[in-house]
C-alpha cells in the first residue's frame, strides 16, 4: 500500500530562479569585491577587519540565498542552513572563551 495524503503539503511547485536574479546578484558581488579591495587601502584601524568581514558575510549571504536558492527553499532547508551556522558560531565562541580564559589571572 503506497503512502499518500500525509505529504500532500509538499506538492508546491518548484521555484525556478531566472537569469535576471542571477545577473543582479552577480553585479552586486562584483561591486562588493571592488569595494572590499578599495577599503583595504584606507586606514580605518580596528575597523578594517570588521568591514572586510562584514562585506564577506554580505557576499556569502547573497550566494547562499540566491545562487544556492535558500531564499526560495522550504523551511526545512532554511532551518538546516541556519542550524549549521549556529553550530559553527557555538564552536567558535566556545573555543575562543576557552582560549581567552585559560591564562586568566596570570597576566
Amino acid at each position: 500500500m503506497s503512502q499518500h495524503g500525509a505529504t500532500d503539503l509538499e506538492h508546491q511547485e518548484h521555484h525556478v530562479v531566472g537569469p535576471k536574479v542571477y545577473l543582479l546578484i552577480f553585479f552586486a558581488l562584483m561591486i562588493c569585491t571592488g569595494l572590499t579591495t578599495w577599503v583595504a587601502f584606507i586606514d580605518l584601524g580596528v575597523l578594517n577587519p570588521v568591514i572586510a568581514l562584514a562585506i564577506a558575510c554580505f557576499k556569502a549571504s547573497l550566494v547562499v540565498l540566491f545562487f544556492m536558492h535558500i531564499h526560495y527553499s522550504s523551511k526545512l532547508l532554511k532551518l538546516t542552513v541556519a542550524s549549521g551556522l549556529f553550530m559553527f558560531l557555538v564552536l567558535i565562541t566556545m573555543t575562543l572563551s576557552d582560549y581567552i580564559s585559560r591564562a586568566w589571572g596570570l597576566w
Binding site: H4, T7, D8, E10, Y22, T33, A60, V63, F67
Partner: protein, 245 residues
C-alpha cells in the same frame, strides 16, 4: 493503517496507477519530495565542510592574535591584485554554474553544456592564477620548511614595512603554513569540482540532466557555490585586512 479513504479525502487518486517520471524513486511520494531530500542531504554534507574549513579559520584567528606583526608582514607579501582578480573569476564561475542549473531546469542541452564548459574554463583560470602565486612563494623562499627565509621580514625592502625581530620573523612561517593549508584545501576542492564538471559535461552530451531529472546538476551547483563562499572569506582574511597604508 493508511487507507484508500485518505486518498479520496484529498480528492486525488494518485496511487499505483499514477504516472511517475522514470527518475522518481519508489520510496518518494513526489518528485518535489525527492528533490528536497536530495538538497537536504547535500546541505548536510556542506555543513560538514563548513566545520572542516571552520577549524582552519579558527586556527587562523588565534595565531593572528598571537603573532599579529608576523601576520601583517606575511599578508603584505601577497599580491592583492591577483587575489582580487581571482575573486572576480570565481564569482563569474558561480554565475555560469547558476546559469547551468537554470539551463538544465529549462531543458536547454546546448546552453547547459556551454555554461558547464565556461565554469570549467573559469575554474582552471582560477587555478592558473593561484599557481602563479604559489610559484612566486617558492622563488621568494616563503614556503614553510628548511628553505624558508626570514631575510625579507628582518630587513624589509618596502619602506612602509616594519622590520621584525628574528624570532617574530620566524612566525611568518605560521602565516604561510595557514596560507598554504587554507588556499591549498580550497584549491583541492576546486580540482575535485573541475573533475566532476568534466564528467557532468560528458554526461550532458549524452542527453543527461535535460530530461527533467537534474538533481546531480543542482547539487553540484551547491558544492561549487560553497567553494566560492570559502574563497569569499579567504580573500579578505589572507590578502586584505592587514595591508600597509
Amino acid at each position: 493503517m493508511d487507507s484508500p479513504a485518505i486518498a479520496t479525502v484529498n480528492g486525488e487518486m494518485h496511487a499505483e496507477a499514477h504516472a511517475h517520471p522514470a527518475h522518481l524513486r519508489h520510496h518518494f511520494e513526489t518528485v518535489e519530495q525527492q528533490r528536497e531530500a536530495a538538497s537536504f542531504g547535500m546541505w548536510l554534507f556542506l555543513l560538514t565542510e563548513v566545520m572542516f574549513f571552520g577549524g582552519m579559520f579558527m586556527a587562523y584567528l588565534i595565531y593572528r592574535n598571537w603573532y599579529h606583526a608576523a601576520f601583517v608582514a606575511g599578508c603584505n607579501t601577497l599580491n592583492i591584485w591577483l587575489g582580487t582578480i581571482n575573486t572576480a573569476v570565481l564569482i563569474c564561475s558561480s554565475l555560469t554554474m547558476a546559469m547551468a542549473v537554470y539551463s538544465a531546469e529549462k531543458r536547454h542541452k546546448k546552453s547547459l553544456i556551454t555554461y558547464l564548459i565556461l565554469t570549467i574554463v573559469l575554474g582552471l583560470a582560477f587555478l592558473g592564477i593561484k599557481s602563479v602565486e604559489y610559484a612566486e612563494k617558492f622563488e621568494l623562499h616563503h614556503v614553510p620548511g628548511p628553505n624558508f627565509s626570514i631575510e625579507q621580514f628582518v630587513h624589509p625592502t618596502n619602506p612602509k614595512a616594519v622590520a621584525l625581530a628574528p624570532d617574530m620573523a620566524e612566525k611568518t612561517q605560521v602565516y604561510f603554513s595557514l596560507y598554504f593549508a587554507m588556499t591549498g584545501m580550497h584549491a583541492l576542492h576546486m580540482i575535485i569540482g573541475i573533475s566532476i564538471l568534466i564528467i557532468l559535461v560528458v554526461r550532458a552530451f549524452g542527453g543527461a540532466y535535460t530530461d527533467g531529472h537534474m538533481t546531480t546538476i543542482e547539487n553540484f551547483g551547491l558544492y561549487w557555490h560553497f567553494v566560492d563562499i570559502v574563497w569569499i572569506f579567504l580573500f579578505p582574511l589572507l590578502y586584505l585586512i592587514s595591508r600597509y597604508r
